[in-house]
């Protein structure tokens, strides 16, 4: 992925000071949601509102990906009738939303996090377990 290459370049040029992990929030069940609690390590780096806004948007996107709507119902029934062979040819609803999430994260990194020496890692690269935020030492580093 192009975004990964550019983010990796950034990573290689600056030293990693610390990593913060935003864990999953299971209060609504097994749906993919992340905790919006603001970690103490980021207090000096980024505005709390901005951070919470990012996490909330991500949570909404994941909720949309997993939503049991009429569209997913029709998709599921159609897939069942074709013995799920359509999954081999068609991009699923979830995958479409994951692409949007990847784009959103890249946008956020470009506009908000990279100028502050932070880097958001797409949770899908960590098995949807955590949002990994890398804190770089070189605060004057800009893209």
């Amino acid at each position: 992925m192009a975004e990964t290459h550019s983010l990796q370049d950034m990573r290689q040029q600056a030293a990693v000071a610390a990593k913060v992990f935003i864990q999953r929030d299971y209060t609504n069940g097994t749906m993919c949601q992340f905790q919006t609690k603001f970690p103490s390590e980021l207090e000096t780096k980024i505005d709390k509102q901005q951070f919470e806004e990012t996490i909330r948007t991500l949570n909404n996107l994941y909720a949309e990906a997993e939503k049991l709507g009429s569209q997913s119902f029709i998709e599921g029934c159609l897939a069942c009738l074709t013995a799920y062979a359509v999954f081999l040819c068609m991009e699923t609803h979830y995958e479409k939303v994951l692409k949007r999430i990847a784009k959103y994260i890249q946008e956020q990194n470009d506009k908000i996090y990279a100028p502050r020496g932070l880097l958001l890692t797409d949770p899908i690269e960590r098995g949807l377990r955590v949002i990994e935020i890398t804190i770089y030492e070189d605060r004057s580093f800009t893209r």
Binding site: Q8, F21, Y26, T30, A65, S72, G76, Y84, F87, R126
Partner: protein, 490 residues
């Protein structure tokens, strides 16, 4: 002792590969990585679980294919006999629809079976070292002098129910709700249902719908074939005229055989079909019924067997995942958006990490064919190699192999610790976490029981009881086993 374990993880270390470099479990046959150390390698080649990958990572199965070839063989055999021996007769005497319906059902069964077997069931990738270190930091340290470390659990509130999340020592993370570690595949699987030897794979979040469709369509297929075969025999047995008619019908097939033998051959194969279908129908119909109940209540086999929500473990506990509506439960299990595979099998490893792992590969390949007991030793060597490259806490070895509980703990996670102290630690850890499943080898138990699976539908649940229970609660179970064994030693 806990501090000793914590020392293994150094968060200041350079980023290490997300998959631990233990390659010798899982490589598909025929690819010799020693010849190509520099080409970019895909992540499936260094996948730490016990899985097999085919078609360059597109297809995956459990390493032990179980009786999957038998399943395929039986389906092909029964359907083949049906199309060859019964269809011609029934088309003549009944209707042309019969082979059409049979054909559709057969194709449906085959496709869903292959999808169940070859799809990633919802494996959770193991935690990166930095994540694992972060979690260890967050776990409350109740006291370094304590002989027994506290059981690692975290409580969350889901829909007003208190759910305990257990820490998986193999995957180095707190397991999400409904996730269980399969000891056969050595992976944490989301919404773990059971490990099915008939399909040679775990059944979890991503392939449960395929599995359910497979067993439902298979029950239709076996019932259909059973009905057709019975009709065939009944029609043939309708008086002497029927038999004579049949004899006159079939001279073309075996022109050089006497008529008596032709009839016997047809009868023999029909009888074989009848026998297979008779035993299959009951067991598979029973299984389909059981899973329909599970789908309607949004339960997994694992939860049902353990009685997590039936009130055995507590008062007033209800399933927090159920939507309280059968239709919505069915939709959420069968028609929900298909979640993606989290293990990125076909992604490429970064170049520097490929070089690291290829270094490890070159030293270990000759140990590939040893038994499970020796795998622990190999893994320890591999871990020592990788520990030299980057201080990485050892993974996977002991918890993944409950059968080799006695030898494994000697090569257990804390490589630098005193083995006797480690034994005591693990014994100490075993007690709070040990369950009542006993110390028998889980693999032996379920294999033996699965041979009886076809005997009756009642055993469907009991079978799962015996083979699921060792698979669930993986993080604590082998410790329970080892604890029991140590108790006898000490």
């Amino acid at each position: 002792m806990k501090s000793r374990e914590y020392q293994q993880i150094d968060p200041q270390a350079p980023p290490t590969p997300t998959q631990t470099p233990l390659p010798h479990h899982h490589q598909a046959d025929g690819v010799d990585r020693r010849k190509e150390p520099r080409t970019p390698r895909r992540k499936w080649e260094v996948f730490p679980g016990r899985n097999r990958f085919f078609c360059d990572g597109r297809i995956m199965m459990a390493r032990q294919s179980g009786v999957f070839p038998l399943t395929l063989g039986l389906i092909f055999l029964t359907s083949g006999l049906f199309f060859i021996f019964d269809c011609p007769f029934l088309v003549k005497h009944l209707t042309r629809c019969i082979p059409a319906i049979g054909g559709v059902l057969f194709v449906f069964v085959l496709i869903t079976l292959l999808q169940t077997s070859f799809t990633d069931p919802g494996i959770l990738p193991r935690a990166t070292p930095e994540e694992a270190a972060d979690i260890e930091r967050q776990i409350d340290d109740t006291g370094n002098t304590s002989y027994r470390p506290p059981p690692r659990t975290k409580e969350v509130l889901i829909n007003q129910q208190v759910i305990k999340l257990k820490y998986c020592f193999t995957c180095k993370m707190f397991r999400p709700p409904r996730t269980s570690h399969c000891s056969l595949c050595d992976n944490c699987v989301e919404r773990f249902d059971h490990h099915c030897p008939w399909v040679g794979n775990c059944v979890g979040k991503r392939n449960y719908r395929f599995f359910y469709t497979f067993i439902v369509s298979l029950s239709f297929l076996t019932a259909f074939i059973f009905g057709c075969v019975t009709t065939h025999l009944a029609l043939r047995a309708q008086g002497g005229k029927g038999l004579v008619f049949a004899l006159q019908e079939s001279p073309g097939r075996y022109p050089y055989m006497p008529n008596v033998f032709k009839l016997s051959l047809t009868h023999l194969f029909t009888a074989v079909e009848l026998a297979i279908c008779f035993f299959s129908v009951w067991s598979i119909l029973g299984l389909s019924g059981f899973h329909t109940y599970l789908v309607a209540s949004n339960l997994t086999t694992n939860e049902d067997i353990k009685g997590s929500w039936s009130g055995k473990t507590g008062e007033g506990v209800t399933n927090p995942y159920s939507h309280r509506n059968i239709f919505i439960n069915c939709c959420s299990v069968l028609c929900a958006p298909m979640p993606p595979s989290l293990i990125d099998r076909r992604g490429f490893l970064p170049a520097d990490e490929s070089a690291q792992t290829s270094g490890v590969d070159i030293e270990l390949p000759n140990l590939n064919n040893k038994s499970e007991i020796n795998v622990c030793t190999q893994e320890t060597k591999g871990l020592l190699e990788s520990a030299a490259l980057s201080p990485l806490l050892a993974t996977s070895c002991p918890q993944g192999k409950p059968q080799t509980a006695l030898s494994c703990p000697d090569n257990s996670p804390a490589l630098k610790s005193d083995p006797s102290l480690e034994l005591s630690q693990r014994r100490g850890q075993a007690h709070p976490n040990s369950k009542t499943y006993g110390s028998t080898s889980p693999l032996r138990t379920y294999t033996g029981l699965h041979k009886h699976k076809r005997a009756s539908s009642h055993t469907a649940r009991l079978t799962f009881d015996s083979h699921v229970s060792p698979d669930g609660d993986h993080g604590s179970k082998p410790k329970g086993h080892q604890g029991t064994k140590f108790a006898t030693l000490h």
